[in-house]
Symmetry: C2
Subunit: 409 residues, 2 copies
C-alpha cells in the first residue's frame, strides 16, 4: 500500500470515453489498496480553444491576469468530469481546483512558479478513503488571483504535489510508454529504458526529448521525487521508465543511455574579432538584450591576434540575431558575420560517461566513418553534443545508436 500521485495529460482525458478509461484504471489501483492523488490536464484541444477565444476578443493581446482566469477552466472541467466518472462506478472521489488545494504561486501570470502547497485537506480526504483529483497547471497567488504555470505545467503540478505529500511515487501517464534510447521514429531499434538517472533525464528533456516538461524534472530532482513515465494507452502502463537518483551497478556499466537530436538550431559565426577581454560579453550581450537564448558557444583562436566566435540560437531567432550582429559588427571590429540555419544538434547522454574514458572518441569516430562533419562540440559531465548539417541528423542518430549498442537491453 503506497501513496501514489498520478498525472494524466490532455490526450488521456480527451473524450468522455477516455475519462471513463482513466476512472477504471484509478479504480484498479485503488482496489489494490493504494492512496491516490490524480492530477489532470485540460481535455485535448480545450486549451487551444480558450487561447483562440482570448486572442480574438482582445485583438491578440489578452490581459495576463484574465488569461489565467479563462485558461484555468480547462482543467477545472476535467477534474469535475473525472470525479463524476469515479463516483458513477462507486469510487468515492473529490475534486480540487488549484485555489482549493491551495497551490500557492507567485504572481507571474501565465508562467507562475509554485511556492507552497497545503496538503491538509487532501490528507483528510485520503484518510476518508477518497481519491483526490487535482487540477494541474494552476494555482493561486498571494492576493487571491488565479495563476497558471505555463504549457506543460501539469507535470510540474504533479511532481510538486508528490513532493508536498511525500508520495512514494509520481507517475506521469502520457501517449508514449516511457523514455527511449532515442526517437523510435528515427531509429526503429530504439529501446525503452527501464531506468534512467535524474541527471540523464534532465539532459534528455532539455535536449529536445519531449516526454517530460523540463521544469517538472528539475522539481523532481530538487525535492527527490521518485518519478515514473508510463503509457496511458496500455493496460499496465507499458512498464514505463523510472527516473532514479542513484546510479546503480548496472547503470555504471552503461556508457551512454540515450541519444537526443534537436533541429531547432541555427549557427552564427563572428570571425576576426580583436582578441581582448570582454569580447564575449560584447557579442552575446547584444543578443541577450533581444531576449534570444544562446545554446552552444565556442571561441577559438583565429589569425594574427584575432579570435573566431560561434554560437547557436533557436532557428526562429536566426534572422534577428544576424541583424543584431551586423549592427554591432563595426563596434566590435569583427571581420565577418555569417551563419547557417540548416544545422542540428545531436547529443549522447549517459551517467556512465563519468567513469569511462573514450566515450567522446567513440562518438567522433562513428560520425567520421560516415563522413559526417562536426561543426561544433560542447560537453558536460554526462553529455557530448555535436552540431552537424541538418541533413545528417537521422543518419548520425542511427550510427551513434548502433555504435553504443543501445539496441541491446
Amino acid at each position: 500500500m503506497a501513496l501514489i500521485v498520478q498525472k494524466y495529460g490532455g490526450t488521456s482525458v480527451g473524450s468522455v470515453e477516455r475519462i471513463q478509461n482513466v476512472a477504471r484504471r484509478i479504480a484498479k489501483f485503488k482496489s489494490q489498496g493504494h492512496d491516490l492523488v490524480v492530477v489532470v490536464s485540460a481535455m485535448s484541444g480545450e486549451t487551444n480553444r480558450l487561447v483562440a477565444l482570448a486572442n480574438d476578443v482582445s485583438g491578440g493581446n489578452p490581459n495576463p491576469r484574465e488569461m489565467d482566469v479563462v485558461l484555468s477552466t480547462g482543467e477545472q472541467v476535467t477534474i469535475g468530469l473525472l470525479a463524476m466518472a469515479l463516483d458513477a462506478i462507486g469510487v468515492p472521489a473529490k475534486s480540487y481546483t488549484g485555489w482549493q488545494v491551495a497551490v500557492k504561486t507567485d504572481s507571474a501570470h501565465t508562467k507562475a512558479r509554485i511556492e507552497t502547497i497545503d496538503d491538509a485537506a487532501m490528507r483528510a480526504d485520503l484518510k476518508d478513503g477518497k481519491v483526490v483529483i487535482v487540477a494541474g497547471f494552476q494555482g493561486i497567488d498571494g492576493v487571491g488571483d488565479i495563476t497558471t504555470l505555463g504549457r506543460g505545467g501539469s507535470d510540474t503540478s504533479a511532481v510538486a504535489l508528490a513532493a508536498a505529500l511525500k508520495a512514494d511515487e509520481c507517475q506521469i501517464y502520457t501517449d508514449v510508454d516511457g523514455v527511449y534510447t532515442t526517437d523510435p521514429r528515427i531509429v526503429p531499434e530504439a529501446r525503452r529504458l527501464d531506468k534512467i538517472t535524474f541527471e540523464e533525464m534532465l539532459e534528455l528533456a532539455s535536449l529536445g526529448s519531449k516526454v517530460l516538461q523540463i521544469r517538472s524534472v528539475e522539481f523532481a530532482g530538487k525535492y527527490r521525487v521518485r518519478l515514473r513515465v508510463l503509457s496511458s494507452l496500455e493496460e499496465d502502463g507499458g512498464g514505463g521508465t523510472l527516473i532514479t537518483f542513484e546510479e546503480d551497478e548496472q547503470m555504471e556499466r552503461v556508457q551512454v543511455s540515450g541519444i537526443a537530436c534537436d533541429k531547432n538550431q541555427a549557427r552564427i559565426n563572428v570571425r576576426g574579432v580583436p582578441d581582448k577581454p570582454g569580447i564575449a560579453f560584447q557579442i552575446l550581450g547584444a543578443v541577450a538584450d533581444a531576449n534570444i537564448e544562446v545554446d552552444m558557444i565556442i571561441q577559438n583562436v583565429g589569425a594574427e591576434g584575432t579570435t573566431d566566435f560561434s554560437f547557436t540560437v533557436p532557428r526562429g531567432d536566426y534572422n534577428n540575431a544576424l541583424k543584431i550582429l551586423n549592427e554591432v559588427k563595426e563596434k566590435i571590429g569583427a571581420a565577418e558575420v555569417s551563419g547557417d540555419d540548416t544545422v542540428a544538434k545531436v547529443s549522447i547522454v549517459g551517467a556512465g560517461m563519468r567513469s569511462h574514458v573514450g566515450t567522446a572518441s567513440t562518438m567522433f569516430r562513428a560520425l567520421a566513418e560516415e563522413g559526417i562533419n562536426i561543426q561544433m562540440i560542447s560537453t558536460s559531465e554526462i553529455k557530448v553534443s555535436v552540431l552537424i548539417a541538418e541533413k545528417y541528423t537521422e543518419l548520425a542518430t542511427r550510427v551513434l545508436h548502433a555504435a553504443f549498442g543501445l539496441e541491446k537491453a
Copy 2:
C-alpha cells in the same frame, strides 16, 4: 453619477463579437461617470455542452458537487473574456469568480441559495476606477466548495450584488426590450410597459412570462432593489421596463397591466369523494410525495354528501399524477378519477384590481362572448386566472388584451 449593476445573459455574450459589443456598451456607461458592476452568464450553448459532458461521463447521474465544479467554468470563461475585451479598449476591469467575491451560499449543490456577499474587494476596485466583472450563477459554500444557483441564477446574482452594494439600479439586459402587456407573438398590439409594480412582475414571472427568473424578482422585492429590464440588442437598451415598489397615481387608474398564458398545465378531477375532514390532504399528499407541484386547486360540493376535487399539475407530471390517484382511489373512496392534458391557464394581472370592482366580470364576459368555456378559476389580490381548453389560448389572450384596452398607452 450612479452605481449600476448590469447583467448580460448568455445570448448577449454568445460570441467574441457580442462580448466586444457589451464591452463598448460598458465603456459608454463608464464614460458617463457611472460606477459599474457587471454580471455575466456563460456563453450561450456552453452550459448545455457542459451538462451533456457531465451526463455522458456519469451515465446520466452526475455527482452534484462535481456538477457545480464543471458548470461554474462557463461563467468563468465569460468574465475573463469580457475583462480582456475591456482592457483591450482601454477600460480598466477586473474579473471575479463567485468564490473570489465571495458570494457565500448554502451547500445545496446545483440549486444553492445566496446567504451573504462580501462587497469590500469590489468597492476597492470601483474606487480605483475599475469596472468589476462578476461571474453570475455561482458561489462558494461554508466548506469552500463551488456552488451554483440553478438555471437563470445569474439574474439572482445580479440582484443580490445590487442589494449588497446598495446600487442605484440593477439592469437586466436580455433579448427582449422589456416587459410587455402580453406575448407579442400572440397579440401583435402588445405594448411594452414603462413601469410595472414588483407584485405584478412577480405574478407575471410565475405565470409563465419568461423575461425574469422569479427568484431574482423575489430577491429584488425583499431587498428593495430598483430593477430594470432592457434589451442587449438595441443601442440604448430600448427604454426597458422599470420594476417599481410604489403604485403611482397613473398606475392606480390601470385595472390590468398584463396578460400571461401558460400551456404547461394538465387538469386532474377526483369525483364523488366522501366529504369529510382531511380529504384534501389525502389526495394532494400522495401527489406531493411524488414531488409533483400542484398549481390551481378547487373543491366543490358534489352529490349526496360527496365532494368533487380538481387541481392542475405540470403537463410532464400528468401521467404520473393520474397513476398515483388511481392507486389511492379505493383508499379515499372516490367514485372516479379523470383528467385532461389539453388545457391552458390564462391570467390577468394588475395592481389596479385592488381598487376596481368588476375586473373579473369584465374578464368572464369577454371570454363568454367568444364561447370560451371556463373550467377552473383561481384568484389573488392582483390576479385572476382561468383554466380553459388549450385550443382557445391565443384567442382568449387577444380578446382579454382588447377588453382591458392594453393596446393603448
